[in-house]
């Protein structure tokens, strides 16, 4: 029997806006499977996004959804989570939204270790505005605003999250669809700020400018460059050149923010 995705999709809200070949739908299905596997209650789940292609995801999901302003998802979500720590708060967005205009909010959400899960769909480009380079566009790659090759160095989102203090960081790809729900479920189950970076594809505005002949080409590349963290342990630096590590990259236990604030309330005498 086919998986029942529709039970968590808002009636009448499909079709989505994503282009044929875009991986965002694969991520959304992974998120739905993860939410199902954890029995997340719709009324008790809040999905928060910023602006961009990936940030349109909440509108399709049948739960509390908040489509905020560009880059501000983590800050809005922090307000929701502080007000209702009992809610499951999940953030979704793209690389430009999360690490350029929203970069400051992103690193501080990591630092606070507030119990939310941030799914970053990293397709290396600003898709919605037509393909401008983002903080993750590789050096010398082409975008509509880097016609001579990108002069900028790029962010590694997972490492950025680890460096900023996120206590759970995982990476998957849009090709490895069946892994996505497991990574997201583990991230949601983790107490603290968790980041799941999904390396995604944008055939429309990134692929065609960067010598990918087809969506299949882009997907094949995701398959080829992904190396599970366990397998990487046995590989040499040379063998790992040009590869990306996938799986759970970082997992530590640290005090969680809303619990720390509950202690503040207790110390102030406000918990009675």
């Amino acid at each position: 029997m086919a998986y029942d995705y529709e039970s968590r999709i808002r009636p009448g809200k499909l079709p989505h806006i994503w282009c044929p070949g875009c991986g965002h739908g694969i991520v959304m299905k992974g998120l739905i499977r993860a939410m199902d596997s954890m029995n997340l209650k719709k009324e008790n789940t809040c999905i928060v996004s910023g602006i961009g292609c990936a940030s349109r995801l909440p509108g399709y999901m049948d739960c509390c959804t908040l489509h905020t302003a560009h880059g501000r998802a983590a800050a809005f979500a922090t307000g929701v989570k502080m007000a209702r720590p009992e809610m499951d708060v999940i953030l979704v967005g793209g690389d430009g939204d999360g690490t350029a205009i929203g970069g400051n909010h992103f690193i501080h959400a990591c630092r606070r270790n507030i119990n939310m899960t941030y799914i970053v769909m990293n397709n290396f480009i600003y898709g919605m505005t037509g393909g401008q380079f983002s903080p993750t566009t590789p050096h010398m790659h082409k975008a509509s605003t880097t016609p001579y090759g990108n002069p900028d160095p790029s962010f590694d989102i997972a490492n950025l999250a680890i460096g900023a203090g996120a206590t759970f960081v995982a990476r998957g790809t849009a090709f490895h669809a069946t892994q996505i729900d497991k990574l997201i479920a583990e991230a949601i189950a983790h107490k603290g700020f968790s980041v799941v970076e999904i390396i995604d594809d944008c055939p429309t505005t990134y692929g065609r400018r960067n010598k990918f002949k087809s969506v299949t080409d882009m997907m094949k590349r995701l398959k080829d460059i992904a190396v599970p963290v366990k397998a990487a342990e046995k590989m040499t630096a040379e063998q790992l050149e040009g590869k990306i590590l996938t799986g759970v990259l970082h997992k530590v236990e640290k005090p969680e923010y809303t619990e720390e604030y509950a202690k503040v309330i207790e110390r102030a005498g406000g918990s009675k």
């Binding site: 009324e43 501000r72 809005f76 307000g79 502080m82 102030a268 406000g270």
Partner: protein, 377 residues
Amino acid sequence: MSKKVAFLQGNEAAAHGAIYAGCKFFGGYPITPSTEVAEVMSVELPKIGGKFIQMEDEIAAIATLLGASLAGMKPLTSTSGPGLSLMQELIGYGCIAEIPCVIFNVMRGGPSTGMPTGPSQSDVMCARWGTHGDHATIALMPASVQECYDMTVQAFNLAETYRMPVHVLPDEIIAHMRERIEFREPGELEVVDRAAPTVPPSEYKPYDTSFGDVPPLAAFGSGYKFHVTGLNKLPDGFPTTKAEYVQAEEERQIRKVMANADKIIDVEEYQLDDAEVCVIAYGSTSRSARYAVNAAREQGVKAGMLRLKTFWPFADKHVKALADKVKGFIVPEMNLGMCSIEVERCAQGKAPILTIQRVDGEPITPEQILEKIKEVK
């Protein structure tokens, strides 16, 4: 039982007013000359189980207000000019998505870093027009420490009543001076909570105008699930570009305030009955103006004052009526003509307008205003 009395700063009083109003959330970023509001909130909120958070910047601060408000809490932030500039993006979000919150903005010199410790009244237009797009604005102008308390309560009531961000705009003098203040007894001031939905979750739409120009707002996490966006939206909260919806929604969001302008607008008419010269003042400047009006009367000049307790919506009707009656207006303000341009608009040339405009970080003195009063022929 005697009332609790204290000797407080305007900033401290505002924080206590917020608590009285039922505020349970504060998100902020330190900035002179408003920081004491945050400091008091960080002490008081956890005592009542409320939440205080210091964010990475003012954009994040107001974002937390909007998130917390959607989750059912009454939220406050405090800031000053540069912070207000940063907040403009999400003040617009609060307007279009119709989310109650209160912004206590202490006015210091500007533009930019300006004069962080000097008083000013130059954010009144920033509060009105700072965010892009058409929108209504409500802004209250305390002129005493007691009013910092009372008007913060009133600001919450207005934010909750009209489902929108509301400004309180003290100048630095009002925010930092100390005066005797009475804490209000429970029930002494009205405390308004946003209208809750009367329909079950399955029928709820966050912008259902069949309930009037201010539709009830449910809270995330209370059993209701709905969508909120900064895009133009349909009654169910989902985006639309349909011309008829967009036009009607934009107009409603302004109408919900302007149709109630007479209820919202609050002025003090001081010695105006027989006045031939009318001083229009607000904030600390109105204190100098009151002194000047008294002094003028002692010297036989029939002066009076229209004190603006709300700056937005502007007191058009009051100024228009006075323009038919007085020989002249005096508009003293700590900016280069932000109120006087509104007075000009309302007076329509029927009475001359003399201005006193200081942006040098010094208050406007009673003597300056008295001299101007005497210039009116």
